[in-house]
Symmetry: C2
């Protein structure tokens, strides 16, 4: 069967250890493209265009919405956040695993459009108390940001059942081992179109 | 999260190499229980009770149907075939991966009852022509049996899209490698009940 790329959606609270896990697994999971979101908010200190986000103007973003250029997008506190289709499509054609770090709502939108090639995992610390401890230990966020992240986490955890897998990051080695299994399985997903082609050729 | 067992359903034509793949993978995939079907048909030469099938009378089978003791069953050419719930439940409580080798219809019935903990893979030779070649090379089946297997395969291949994964057995090493990934991923599936419990405990 023709092998194009596939999608792996990761969600879970900030502080769950998603980036650490992806980095620890990167040698094992093969060629992947980590999707970079596009936003209209201003870059924070240290953030780089094309690394942390693609920073664009509101006008450009709205034009792209009209042109149907987003796989998913949302407006949060007056700023747009979205995933452009183009780099995702290119990575898929190259046979890469496309990894998204997006929220519960973004996961639903990706599922709605590309369900057949999508696998998803919710990554979370073992408890809310542990999440709070980790967020405070980082000392990088204001109290208001921490409170906001905790409130988001309390709401997002209820969506665990919508994900193919839950990875509880209690222990980084164990969480990474599970993530590698999920990423390798994600890569085996076939598009509906390729399956239909396979059936036709199989019977020929 | 509490870790009970999970289910892996394998379907695909006789001659696809399912048993060879499971045997080749058995050391890598950990503790599993290979589900043995129950049937009312007579044992063939060499078949052993409790190994190939559980052989029972029609009366016993029908009593078990009434008592709701089957996870799935079907009547084929006047004989019953089914999967008893009891050994499956026991293996799940022990945290084992329960592997089924059942047909497309059986897969649908397992999905209907235990969707949350079920992963499925359709295993097939690369083409219908290759399947026919393999069946004839075995020299174990009558012509009528071969024709019957081919007709079944032509009908079952159309259900490939209902399965989580398709494993094309073109090369046994490659097919085994893919099967190991699928089996390891299958083991990570959580029951809806355990997920709900996890959410409650997470928020506590």
């Amino acid at each position: 069967m023709q092998k194009r790329g596939a999608i792996l959606v990761l969600s879970g609270p900030s502080g769950a250890g998603k980036s650490t896990i992806i980095n620890a697994a990167s040698e094992e999971i093969g060629d992947y493209y980590f999707s970079i979101s596009t936003t209209t908010r201003n870059p924070r200190v240290g953030e780089k265009n094309g690394v942390d986000y693609f920073f664009v103007t509101k006008e450009d973003f709205e034009e792209d919405i009209k042109a149907g250029n987003f796989l998913e997008y949302a407006e949060v506190h007056g700023n747009y956040y979205g995933t452009s289709l183009k780099p995702v499509r290119e990575a898929l054609v190259e046979g890469k695993l496309v990894i998204f770090d997006i929220d519960v709502q973004g996961h639903r939108l990706v599922r709605a459009k590309m369900n057949d090639i999508t696998t998803s995992a919710f990554i979370t610390p073992p408890t809310l108390i542990e999440l709070e401890k980790r967020l405070r230990a980082r000392c990088t966020d204001d109290e208001s940001v921490i409170i906001n992240r905790i409130e988001n986490a309390k709401s997002e955890i209820r969506a665990v059942g919508e994900y193919d897998f839950t990875i509880i990051n209690d222990n980084i080695e164990d969480a990474t081992r599970k993530f590698i299994i999920v990423a390798k399985a994600a890569r085996l997903k076939q598009s509906r179109e390729d399956e239909d082609k396979f059936i036709t050729e199989w019977l020929a």
